[in-house]
């Protein structure tokens, strides 16, 4: 495909489906598929990175467009990027979960007036509890969130779940659903104007399926 667009592609759970999508658009991803350590693929116009870095590169204009999960966009809602399309894949739910037995979140709120929540999504979690009128103390963790309620660090967690298997394996259950997250196509605001034709061509081809 004749495109001089720089595309930010997320390594992670939606990496494979994103490359499949780019293949369907006529972008040659074979080099990306065969190079796990390389990050920059100028020939295909692809830069690969962590999903949570995609909005950063796109906002700055280092990439013209990018693909990332809605969970990342919700957490980084201050980023000045345009959200062009819901790509449909990478379907996950953002949920509140707690230990299977009893009602640790309800108990904490009733007896202590606040609930402690561990998450990798502190803004999303804080906004959810504020909107539902509950005081929450947010504990940000970087690794496995499931560990936090099991060790007594917190009463519950806010996390992303696709199948619910990891939660179940750790004897946690979903108590509330915050929202559904799928992969999104985002664009830099300036590129959206200055490279309108190339971006529109991609949007139309994705829409056409």
């Amino acid at each position: 495909m004749d495109s001089d667009l720089a595309i930010a592609v997320p390594r992670g759970t939606i990496f494979g489906e994103t490359l499949d999508l780019l293949d369907r658009l006529g972008i040659d991803t074979s080099e990306v598929r065969s190079n796990e350590r390389k990050l920059l693929f100028p020939k295909a116009g692809i830069v690969t990175m962590r999903p949570s870095d995609v909005p950063t590169y796109v906002e700055h204009g280092s990439a013209d467009i990018g693909i990332t999960g809605k969970d990342v966009l919700l957490e980084q809602s201050q980023r000045d990027v345009y959200e062009l399309l819901d790509l449909g894949y990478g379907h996950c739910r953002m949920v509140v979960a707690a230990r299977e037995s009893g009602d640790p979140i309800g108990d904490a709120l009733r007896r202590l007036g606040r609930v402690r929540i561990a998450t990798k999504y502190p803004r999303v979690a804080a906004a959810h509890f504020a909107e539902t009128g509950r005081q929450a103390e947010i504990v940000e963790v970087k690794g496995s969130v499931e560990l936090a309620p099991l060790t007594g660090l917190v009463d519950g967690i806010v996390d992303l779940t696709a199948t619910g298997r990891t939660l179940a394996e750790n004897r946690l259950r979903v108590v509330e659903e915050i929202g559904v997250c799928t992969a999104r196509l985002i664009a830099n605001p300036v590129a959206h104007k200055l490279k309108a034709d190339q971006i529109d061509r991609i949007v139309e081809r994705i829409r056409a399926g």
Binding site: E59, Y82, E83, N188, V190, K193, A196, V203
Partner: protein, 323 residues
């Protein structure tokens, strides 16, 4: 030991200062040549007076008190202070009036990292001339001044700040649904816009129009394709394009029917200035026909403000590309 300065503010040392000065001098000379006299106003104003211009005082966030307990605010742009000057110091002077400025303004850092709290704005205001003549003059001058500053590939996005709101009204979308839709449009969250429009009781064609409008951007063909409700609205933009063609800058503008600006005082055309070397707008502006009336002198007006530091970034990037 560190001696911090607030995030979003910065010290400027001689090398950078020299380059910034060179840019502002060249732009100022271009503005002056075109008859735009330079003006300066106090950094601190009575908050109450700024509020007369706009409810939120154009987002002024830093306030203090004087000896009498009056609330003073650091200006957040130059457009409101210049409107005040026109209504007071130029109360009896025949329009049109032309002013330029290079001045610091202050805004809160809402979005976090990298956003300036204090910034140097360079811009022009043209008062007393109706559309589309004033827009054409201001935009042609802006493009020329940036050329002078060393940019080569800069473009101006032009939209109509009230187009979408008028369209919602004309289609009979209930007023309580407007704010959320306009919010989606201003963030260009087209996925959420699509979802919300799908929930409106409208014909398929009308829904299509509301969803597709933000995607209409490009050269003159954008205006040619528009008909019906949108066609009437873009009538003014067509006339503007003809004037810009006459000024020789017709190919430097991009019509963008989804463009909206955050500031509340715009009443007609709105602008944003871009350079492909940087990923954010260098500045913007638009028509504000009601602002002067709020200070007691009903005159049409329009203007553009550029963030000089961002112009410098673009100029440096263009230089690095061999431009």
């Amino acid at each position: 030991m560190t001696h911090p300065i607030p995030p979003g503010t910065r010290d400027v040392l001689p090398d950078e200062m020299r380059e910034l000065r060179a840019i502002t001098e060249r732009m100022r000379a271009r503005f002056e040549d075109a008859g735009y006299g330079e003006i300066h106003t106090p950094a601190l104003e009575y908050e109450e007076v700024l509020r007369r211009g706009e409810e939120r005082a154009a987002g002024a966030r830093y306030r203090t008190f004087d000896e009498q307990g009056n609330v003073l605010a650091l200006r957040s742009d130059m457009t409101i202070p210049i409107a005040r000057v026109v209504a007071t110091r130029y109360a009896d002077v025949e329009p049109p009036l032309r002013f330029c400025y290079f001045a610091r303004a202050w805004r809160a850092v809402d979005r976090g990292v990298g956003e300036p709290r204090e910034f140097l704005q360079g811009g022009v205001e043209l008062i007393g001339i109706p559309p589309p003549e004033a827009e054409a003059e201001v935009l042609a001058l802006t493009i020329a001044a940036l050329e002078e500053a060393g940019l080569r590939r800069h473009r101006v996005g032009i939209g109509d700040g009230s187009l979408y709101r008028r369209l919602l009204g004309a289609l009979g979308v209930p007023a309580e649904a407007h704010p959320a839709l306009l919010e989606c449009l201003s963030r260009r969250d087209l996925v959420e816009l699509d979802r919300r429009v799908a929930g409106l009781r409208l014909a398929d064609r009308e829904r299509e129009l509301l969803v597709r409008l933000p995607e209409l951007r490009g050269g003159r063909r954008v205006l040619e394709g528009a008909d019906g409700l949108v066609g009437d609205a873009v009538h003014g933009l067509r006339a503007l394009h003809e004037l810009l063609e006459e000024c020789g800058v017709g190919d430097r503008v991009i019509f963008d029917l989804g463009l909206v600006r955050q500031l509340g005082y715009y009443t007609g055309a709105v602008f944003e200035v871009y350079d492909p070397a940087v990923g954010f707008a260098l500045g913007g502006g638009g028509r504000y026909d009601e602002l002067l009336g709020r200070f007691g002198r009903q005159l049409p007006a329009c203007g553009v403000a550029l963030d000089v530091q961002r112009v410098h970034l673009a100029q440096a990037a263009e230089e690095a590309l061999g431009g």
